[in-house]
């Protein structure tokens, strides 16, 4: 399956709050903390367990007036970062 077709979901243990368009995320058990910038926060907001990476990239491209290819590359990179920090469900920690 192409990366753009994967459907990301947030780790159920992650606790997140948004302040002035910046999200602060705590992942219990792992002692991981992460602060997301505005675009990252919007992507985090769009991760709902139903949208694919491609769906999210399409929305980001529209909202931030960039090409789909650029948005997809950024979204995939960002999801990979979240995955490496164990912040997505069912992903390798």
């Amino acid at each position: 399956m192409a990366l753009r077709e994967t459907i990301p979901a947030k780790h159920p243990d992650a606790a997140a709050r948004v302040y002035d368009n910046e999200a602060f995320i705590v992942l219990p058990h792992k002692g991981q903390y992460k602060i997301l910038n505005g675009v990252g926060t919007r992507v985090w907001d769009l991760i709902d367990g139903r949208r694919s990476a491609g769906d999210i990239a399409r929305l980001i491209a529209d909202e931030y007036e960039t090409t789909f290819e650029t948005a997809l590359s950024d979204v995939e990179s960002f999801l990979g970062d979240l995955e490496s920090h164990g912040m997505l469900a069912g992903k390798a920690e």
Binding site: P12, D13, A14, A15, R17, V18, Y19, D20, E22, A23, F24, V26, P28, H29, G31, Y33, I35, L36
Partner: protein
């Protein structure tokens, strides 16, 4: 059901951690215990330790002093009843015997309540029922230092959780009072909490280890004001308090060792994140982490947060004086 986890000693011998479950602790509640009881109050949370021997109760009163009296008049927001019993095991978490071994504490959630275990103690407590048990390893019966260490670490875990419900928290911070206001210097081990404490001889030291932060209603109705006070577990340099006092917080300062003194204001997610990462125990459990973030968010709305770059010189107070 009892959970066991295998460990290995430095000598290569296999030993096992013994982490009791809720059933173990419930059975302990009905076991024979000592006749004495004593209460400790910190930040409006009262913990009644019952089932102590007379000698243990005396040791608690000697160790916790003013916190046994609650003379501050702080309203009691929660009142825990903790049954204490000595268990026949020598240890709960195995001592691995390595020189660099850290004091291990394991915390888990079960049926909505908290289970914790360390080398010389294990506990269970339920915040809704405001009840729990503390099982002490056999070694604490004959070793006063082991009893003192076990009780203090149990109370650190209990208070870190229980204070959140009353809009309070424990912070890994040096708390220093100048001109009636509390300055909270926080950060991980090695960031300089003890250094700023020893470089501030004119300040009243609340703690150089763990400091109480509590939001209390201000004179304007509905407005929460951030206050700080001492706790019984306050590190090496803080004197034993003679009364329990809360001071308004002038600011939170995330310590960064540097070659110059300056402050950088923090706000939003960065301010909350820096403080949350210095809370003991409570962010390890998902159901507590969200509550911890929310209470810290209220504190950040009430008091300014800075990154303090400082050199090993008390001139850092000049940089602070320019912003608060």
């Amino acid at each position: 059901m009892t959970v066991t986890v295998g460990t290995t000693t430095a000598q290569g011998r296999s030993r096992e951690d013994f982490v009791p479950d809720i059933a173990f602790h419930r059975a302990l509640q009905s076991s024979a215990r000592g006749p004495a009881a004593i209460s400790i109050t910190v930040g409006g949370v009262r913990v009644r330790l019952q089932g102590l021997s007379e000698a243990q109760a005396g040791a608690v009163r000697e160790r916790f002093g003013v916190f046994c009296d609650n003379m501050s008049g702080t309203p009691i927001a929660a009142h825990f009843a903790i049954d204490v019993a000595t268990f026949e095991n020598e240890t709960f978490l195995a001592m691995r015997g390595t020189p660099s071994e850290l004091y291990r504490i394991r915390i888990a959630e079960d049926e909505g309540s908290t289970l914790a275990a360390s080398h010389e103690w294990s506990c269970w407590f339920d915040e809704e029922a405001a009840a729990g048990t503390l099982a002490l390893a056999a070694v604490t019966a004959d070793d006063p230092k082991a009893f003192d260490r076990a009780l203090e670490n149990f109370l650190r875990v209990l208070y870190a959780h229980a204070l959140l419900a009353g809009d309070g928290f424990l912070l890994h911070a040096a708390g220093l009072v100048r001109d009636g206001r509390a300055y909270l210097f926080f950060g991980p081990s090695g960031s300089g909490k003890t250094t700023v404490t020893t470089m501030s001889p004119d300040a009243t030291v609340l703690s150089d280890d763990l400091t109480l932060v509590r939001l209390v209603e201000g004179e304007d109705a509905g407005r929460l004001v951030c206050h700080s006070g001492s706790v019984p577990f306050r590190g090496v340099f803080a004197p034993r308090p003679e009364r329990e006092v809360l001071y308004p917080v002038a600011g939170f300062f995330r310590l960064v060792k540097d070659s110059d003194d300056y402050v950088v204001p923090l706000s939003g997610a960065r301010a909350v994140g820096e403080i949350v990462s210095s809370l003991p125990f409570v962010t390890e459990r998902p159901e507590r982490a969200g509550r911890a973030i929310d209470v810290v968010s209220k504190a950040v709305a009430s008091a300014p947060v800075f990154q303090l770059h400082f050199r090993k010189d008390r001139t850092f107070w000049n940089a602070i004086g320019e912003v608060v």
